[in-house]
């Protein structure tokens, strides 16, 4: 089972990094960019677990460590069984 955890700063928090990237894009000739928010991607490769268990366990991981709910929002995507290597 693989999963992707997408972490974003809450909309209420000024994303100084995003603002800087936006200014850089403007400088490079992309004035159409209205806003930039920079987030984090955490890819997880999990043993065994069925989707329901995986979702519950990832929820616990987010609560215990991966996400700070004071400043961040999270979305979890499950991608099913990983391909054999």
């Amino acid at each position: 089972m693989t999963a992707r955890v997408l972490i974003r700063l809450k909309a209420s928090i000024l994303d100084a990094q995003g603002a800087s990237v936006k200014r850089a894009l403007e400088g490079l000739g992309f004035p159409e960019v209205r806003d930039v928010r920079v987030g984090k991607v955490i890819d997880l490769d999990l043993d065994g677990a069925d989707a329901e268990t995986a979702r519950r366990r990832i929820g616990e991981m987010c609560a215990r460590l991966l996400v700070n709910p004071v400043i961040e929002n999270v979305t979890v995507e499950l991608h099913g069984e990983r391909e054999a290597r």
Binding site: L9, I13, A16, Q17, L65, L66, N68, V70, I71
Partner: protein
């Protein structure tokens, strides 16, 4: 008064705190390794600045779940005091021992400079030797020190007097220009509801000898020493 100075992989102000407590203030002090949850015999635990665990994921996030930090609620419950500076403040917020969070500086720059701090609350064990409205001079050194709290949390902090230090000008005015990192309301330091856990971004240990530019940092330690009463407990708020 027995002090402990916590050392995580990546901590950098541990030796400075140890030196100031032991050599400048002549108090008993020992290092506490981050895997050591035995805090017996300690009155005050210091979480110093640095980059614990490389600040991976978020500043202070991994340290905030370490054995020594998981032992802090019990340590505080039985009368211990906790002082977190810089990365230590970030760790205390990550561990939910203090409200709010510290995010990347608004200017995006790492700021290493002298700051002035307005004392808002002089009734905690950490600030008893100060007076409200007093201005202290202490350095900062961080890239992620912008204090953030949700509006309801901020109201609670204000109502309960939990905001202890705010960045200000030399003459004590709280202005945007005096705010080095974009912190909400210029907040530089907060305490928990009981006043027994203090977190601040500035470095008191780097303002402890006149040869190094000032001694205002020692006032926090003198407050602590003055708060210790005969039976070994502390005067609280």
């Amino acid at each position: 008064m027995n002090f402990g100075v916590v050392v995580f992989p990546g901590t950098w102000s541990d030796c400075d705190f140890h030196y100031v407590i032991g050599e400048v203030l002549h108090q008993p002090v020992r290092y506490v390794w981050h895997r050591d949850a035995n805090l017996t015999g300690l009155d005050c635990l210091v979480l110093p600045g640095g980059f614990s665990y490389g600040d991976y994921l978020r500043a202070g996030a991994i340290a905030g779940r370490s054995p020594v930090v998981e032992a802090l609620p019990e340590f505080v419950a039985r009368g211990g005091l906790v002082l977190g500076s810089c990365n230590g403040f970030q760790i205390l917020c990550e561990a939910n021992l203090l409200p709010g969070a510290l995010v990347r500086n608004e200017c995006l720059q790492y700021r290493c400079q002298s700051t002035h701090l307005l004392v808002d609350n002089a009734e905690t064990p950490f600030t008893r030797a100060l007076r409200p409205g007093q201005v202290l001079k202490m350095p900062i050194s961080h890239g992620e020190g912008r204090y953030h709290a949700e509006p309801e949390t901020l109201h609670q902090l204000v109502d309960a007097g939990q905001i202890v230090f705010r960045y200000c000008t030399e003459d004590g005015r709280v202005t945007k220009e005096a705010n080095p990192n974009g912190s909400l309301r210029n907040i530089a330091g907060v305490v928990n509801e009981d006043g027994t856990v203090l977190g601040l971004m500035p470095h008191p240990e780097r303002a402890a000898e006149s040869a190094l530019g000032g001694t205002d940092g020692t006032l926090i330690f003198h407050s602590l020493l003055g708060s210790l009463v005969e039976d070994g407990s502390f005067l609280k708020r």
